[in-house]
Structures are given as C-alpha cells and as structure tokens.
C-alpha cells in the first residue's frame, strides 16, 4: 500500500522543504518536489508541516499493575493524538520493570495495538530498591533502551556508578531522576515565594542540583552516558552546560510544563500543578527557555504521569505528584516556535531527531528515504479547547484541561498507517 502526503512543509532537523512524501508500506519511499507519484491513498496536507513522529523519552503508562490510571493502549491513543509515535515508559509499574519478562510484555502489548512503538526503560536496580543491579544485558536484548530508578533516585553513589558502568557495556545508558530525598523532605512544591506564602512545604532547587552534580561526576568517573531527567532549575542547566563543556557524556531533557509554568500556579493549591520536580520560579523558566534556544537541552519529554481523579482530589499534601502531557507537548512546544525561541528544525531536533539518537534508533527521527514512515502532520495555527472529548488518556490530571490550546497533529502516521486524525467539526 502506497500513501502520498502531498503539499507539505517537510521539516527535518536541519531544514524545511516544500514537497511530498511517498510512503510505501512502512517506509518512506521518496521525498519529492512534485506530486506525480501514483498512490493508493493521498492526503492533501494543504501546506501544513510534516514532522518526524515525536519520540517521548519519558512517560508512565502504569501497565502492568496500575491500569486504572492508564494502560498501554490508552497511553498509546493519547500519544498518537499528540503526534507521538514512540515512547519510553518508565519502570515504576507493578511489578517493577526490572526483568526481561515485563519488558517484553510491554513491547508486545504495544505491538499488538499497532499504534506506537514502545521502548521500555528498565529499572536500574532490582525492585527499584537502589541496591542490586538488574539484568541489564538480558533486558537490553529484550528491548529495554535505558535504565532508571525514576522517582526513587539511587541514593548510593557507588550503586549509581556501577549501574552506569554496567549499562554502558551493553551500549545502553542510565537516566537519572536527580533528587536528594533527604533535602526534599516532606516538600510538595518549589521552595520559593509561593511556598512561603501558602505554607506548602518547599523542595529547594538545590535538591535536584546536588544530585545532578553527583551524577555528572559519576559520568566523568565512568565515561558512561548519563541522561538527566526533567531538569527544572537554572542551576541544573548551568551544571549540565559545564559538564558538556568538559566533554562529559551527559545529556538532558525538559518537560513542557517546566518551561511554561511557574510556582505561581500553586497559589490556588491546585493538585493538577503538583509534580516532581515542582514548577519553579520565573528565572528558572527563563533559563530553561534559553537552554532550548541555544541547544544546551537535548530533548523535550512529557513525563506523562496519569493519576486517577480520586487520587488528585485530596488534600494537597496527600495527592500524588505528576500530570499527563502527551496531548499538550505539541501545542506547548509549538508555542516556543511562535514566540521565536526556536525554529521548526529545532523543534524536530528536540522532539524527535535527538531522542532517536539518544536511544540509538537510527530508523527514525527524520523524514528521509528509507526511514520508517512515522510522521505527524502538524497545524501550528489550529485553536481548540482541550476537553474530555479530545482527551485520550484514562486520566485527566492536567492543568490544561478545559483550556484553549493552539497547535495540534492533524494526522499521525505510524509505520505508514494513519493512526490518528484530528476530529474536525
């Protein structure tokens, strides 16, 4: 089956070209200026952008074990509705993804749905207990693309060191959710002006920075690739810039909410703005935006963390951390393009090209002949209210529910098949 995407602005990591994309089966067969190819199906993109399918290195799909929040199928539906064609789910499932059986279960389930590719992140230590290494070799063979004890950061520097060393042997890498739990204490929001005002307990930025510094030094010690999760503070970015300037093998990611919202959102005690790391101050947001502009930040991820409404409808201190993000990454990131912070090629670098490189998936991240036909047709001008009819996740814990958003995927194409089409009225 051949599908022609005609009349699109084709965006790659280095340029934007006008033309047509011919897909043959799962693969991009040609990228041409003239639409004279014969195809079984033609989609007229009417001058909208064709971008490589977004690759989200950081999601929580709650499957197996906590499917009432999200399962792989509902998560995949939310992904494709946000232009995302591949995700890396974190290991904090029940049971923990600390063995090949769970890893393969996740991959198979996503494959049978056929909506997205799922590349699991395995636990760094057994049970995410921070003590014994997982069978990283076997899990890598089973399809795990990296290792992390996300949310339960490894406390012992030695364990972290050994995990990084051992993962690198199998061509893999470790992903650090940088947080000194002892400094975070009972904190629930950023320690700043708003924690002083609201009486909500604070988590200082240094809580992240002190662990980022440690994990950068563990990369220096081992030469292993360390990827820093969801960076949230100006200080963290300065540490990463330093690490990169020293030539250490360190990369990082940022979430749309951390470069869009500040601690001011918490003045209303909204549990849908409670996440870890917390929303920080304006100067942090400004620094993160600058990091996206100048390329110090490698990729944008969602940290999509679905929770049941009952869990968020509690006293602020008791509500779990995390918000959903798969359907808001595109509009919030495109807002950076509209503001002139980044251009469309940079958008593609941050959301697809760099993530593909980080997880060593050379078959994607570009719209080019021979690559997998994972493509999102994006309209940055489309305005809509993000409501329950559009929301595909099982959960609704996002501060953007009911809000007006701008920019969406009109079509999401996974391995040559249209897996999502924006519902136009």
């Amino acid at each position: 089956m051949k599908t022609l995407l005609k009349n699109c602005k084709i965006v790659n990591h280095d340029k934007v070209t006008e033309g047509n994309v011919l897909i043959d089966g799962e693969i991009i067969a040609s990228v041409t200026a003239h639409a004279d190819e014969k195809a079984d199906k033609v989609i007229d993109c009417k001058g909208k952008y064709a971008v490589p399918g977004l690759i989200d290195l950081h999601v929580h799909f709650r499957d197996p074990g906590l499917e009432y929040k999200e399962d792989i199928t509902s998560g995949a539906k939310a992904a494709v509705a946000g232009g995302v064609t591949a995700v890396c789910p974190m290991a904090n499932t029940k049971p923990v993804n600390d063995n090949r059986i769970v890893t393969e279960y996740m991959i198979r389930k996503a494959q049978s749905d056929g909506l997205i590719d799922l590349f699991p992140i395995g636990a760094m230590t057994k049970g995410m207990e921070g003590e014994e290494l997982t069978e990283m070799g076997d899990m890598t063979e089973g399809g795990a693309i990296g290792f992390s004890d996300d949310g339960k950061p490894v406390c012992s520097a030695e364990v972290f060191r050994r995990a990084a060393e051992y993962a690198s042997q199998f061509g893999s890498f470790v992903i650090s959710h940088a947080e000194d739990k002892s400094l975070a204490g009972a904190g629930v929001i950023h320690e700043g002006e708003v924690s002083a005002i609201t009486g909500l307990k604070g988590i200082p930025s240094e809580c992240e920075e002190v662990m980022v510094a440690r994990d950068i030094l563990m990369s220096k010690l081992t030469g292993a690739h360390v990827h820093i999760c969801h960076i949230s503070s100006k200080g963290t970015l300065e540490l990463i810039k330093w690490a990169k300037s020293m030539g250490y093998n360190v990369t990082c990611e940022v979430t749309p909410h951390h470069f869009t919202l500040t601690e001011q959102e918490l003045l209303t005690y909204d549990t849908n703005c409670k996440m870890n790391p917390p929303l920080r101050a304006q100067e942090d947001v400004d620094a993160l935006i600058e990091g996206l502009r100048n390329g110090d930040i490698d990729c944008i991820v969602t940290d999509h963390a679905p929770h049941h409404p009952d869990e968020k409808a509690q006293e602020f201190d008791l509500a779990p951390f995390g918000i959903t993000g798969l359907q808001t990454m595109l509009p919030l990131s495109l807002a950076l393009v509209e503001k002139g912070v980044i251009d469309m090629p940079a958008f593609v670098r941050l959301t697809s090209y760099n993530p593909a490189k980080l997880i060593k998936k050379t078959d994607r991240g570009e719209i080019a002949v021979g690559k997998l036909a994972d493509i999102a047709i994006v309209d940055p001008e489309l305005e809509y209210v993000f409501d329950l009819t559009l929301n595909k996740s099982k959960s609704v814990n996002t501060p953007y529910m009911g809000k007006k958003l701008k920019g969406a995927a009109l079509y999401t194409i996974k391995s040559g098949k249209v897996v999502f089409e924006f519902p136009m009225n």
Binding site: E191, G192, E193, S195, A196, I197, T198, G199, L200, K201, G202, P204, Y269, D310, A313, Q314, E315, F316, D317, L318
Partner: protein
C-alpha cells in the same frame, strides 16, 4: 461595611474593610462575654460542627463556647488528618455531615490548603480554625483586637513576631492582616525557622533578638514545637531560650508599655519566661478572652447571612 463571603478561610485574601468589619463586630460581642448571663439567641436553631482533624483544646473550646453563647447547637467531631487510616475522603466526611443539615463548619486540618479545599467542594459555610502552616484567621483577629484595645489603634504600631515563622500559621495570618491595616511588622527567629523567601511578607526580618524587641509596641512570641518540627531546626530548648526567648531583660528594650502576646499554649522558660508571661505587660489571657468574641463574630457573620451590618438589634 459588610462581609459577603461564604467562608472565613484566611486573612491573605480579605480586604482591609472586611477585616475591620470583623474586628468591629467582635468588639461589640466582647460586651456579651462580660454579662452575668452570657447568652443571646442569635444563632438559635443553627448547627455548628467543630471539625478538627488535628488535636486542639483551646481553639476548639473557644469556638464551642462562642457557638453556645450564640445559642447554636455545637457538635465536636475529631478525626485524623490521614485519609489512609480513615478510609474516607475528606470531602466525603464533610459532605456526610453537611447532609445532616449542618450550617457552619469550623475546620482545623494539619495540611495547608485543606480547609480552602473543603470550602471549594461543599456548599457549607466554613471557618478556618487553622490549616497546616497556612492560616489561622481567628487568631490574627483576636491578636489585632487585643492590640487595638491596648493601644487604641493599629496604624503605625510596631509589632515583633518572634519564633518559628516558617511553620507558623499564626505568623502568616498576623502578617497578612496586620500589614493591610498599617501595622509595622518585624520578624525574628532562628535562621532555620525563617523562610528563605521571606521578602514576600513585606516585613523587616531582624538579625538579633535585641533588634527585634527594640522599640516594639507589641511582641508576639510563637510557640516552639520541637517535637513536631524535628530536632534539626534547633539544637535544644535551652539554647532556644537563650537566643530567642523573651526575658525581662530583653523586654526592657521594648517600649515601656509594650504588650506581650502568645497564641498559646506557652512553653514556660523556653520562648517566654514566666515572669514575663505573668508580668504587667502580658496580654496573653486577654487574647484568650477576646478569642471568644472574635469567634462569636465569625459565627454570627456567616450564620446570619453575610450582609447585615453590625449586630441585629434583637440579638440581645
């Protein structure tokens, strides 16, 4: 002047006029408390539930007395803040009692924002009797009422609040309310107990006990709760008393007629020495007396319908 809100959640969001109205109403109620028969029929037939998710004796008793003096039926309900042990959500608990046709809930909870959360999710009228580290509005009102009775005014009065500012809902409510009414507030305490971003309070943060006390019209000493805030913040109560406690000598640096206040219960010999707590400058028991009038005012204003000015002529 009027107070038209459904609830009394905190001082931060109130206007100067609303605070003054609450104070005026409370001042009028002080008279009832001096009578031989301390009861008016104002809230007869109304049900007031004291919903305390955190242990309290004096605030709860004060609200109970206030409710009874207004002839309301007052019921005390004590529960744990932890929903895991309770097995029922906070909102379900409140809605169940609301379904019993209760009129006003007086709520104390150990988590900041929890009382606001209840107010937003129920139709009941809610009075915040202290939520976590956030606010304790009736304490701020009784503090200001006591100051105004003693000094004749609030504008331009120099108030020092000393102790654990970070973990004090009393300090927050006092600061929000007093700064709106033109009181000059200064803060002092161990560095470990002052928020890093204390500039949001718009108050002077002092560097020493002497600086904090010097020239003050009013000194509010906060209760130190070493057992609750952990032993990390101060090494010992002995050292706390030495550097942060109010002694006769320190008090001598304040204005001669300085008023010493404390939200209670006092740790004698720690933040407040007995000869100061019991001395001529002490307004501590006056605060407690005023607490009843303030709580009567709050219950009255919410219970009667929030738009009448002053006390109903038929009330007495």
């Amino acid at each position: 002047m009027a107070y038209k809100r459904k609830d009394l959640l905190g001082m931060k969001d109130l206007t100067k006029e609303e605070i003054l109205y609450l104070l005026e109403t409370a001042q009028k109620f002080t008279e009832i408390n001096e009578r031989d028969v301390k009861k008016v029929p104002t809230l007869k037939g109304k049900t007031v539930i004291n919903l305390f998710f955190e242990p309290s004796t004096r605030t709860r008793t004060s609200f109970e007395i206030a409710g009874k003096r207004l002839s309301a039926d007052t019921i005390n309900f004590t529960a744990s803040s932890s929903s895991t042990t309770k097995g029922e959500t906070l909102i379900d608990t409140v809605k169940n009692m609301e379904a019993m046709k209760s009129d006003i809930f007086v709520v104390r909870h150990s988590y900041s924002g929890a009382v606001k959360y209840i107010a937003e999710h129920t139709d009941a009228k809610i009075i915040n009797a202290g939520d976590g580290l956030n606010e304790h509005p009736t304490q701020a009102l009784l503090d200001m009422l006591t100051i105004r009775q003693s000094k004749g005014r609030l504008e331009g009065i120099e108030v020092a609040i000393i102790g654990d500012i970070t973990h004090s809902r009393v300090a927050r409510s006092d600061v929000w309310a007093m700064t709106k009414l033109g009181v000059n507030v200064r803060l002092f305490g161990p560095t470990t107990m002052i928020p890093k971003h204390s500039q949001v309070f718009g108050c002077r943060v002092c560097k020493s006990m002497n600086e904090a006390v010097e020239g003050a019209d009013v000194i509010i000493m906060l209760r130190i709760q070493r057992e609750r805030q952990g032993k990390l913040l101060i090494p010992s109560t002995k050292e706390y008393a030495k550097y942060f406690g109010l002694t006769k000598d320190k008090l001598a640096l304040a204005k001669p007629d300085a008023l010493v206040m404390h939200p209670g219960p006092i740790n004698r010999g720690v933040e407040l020495m007995s000869n100061v707590a019991d001395g001529d400058n002490s307004g501590v028991l006056k605060q407690v007396t005023n607490g009843v009038a303030v709580r009567m005012a709050a219950l009255y204003i919410l219970g009667i319908g929030n738009n009448k000015g002053g006390i109903d002529e038929n009330a007495s």
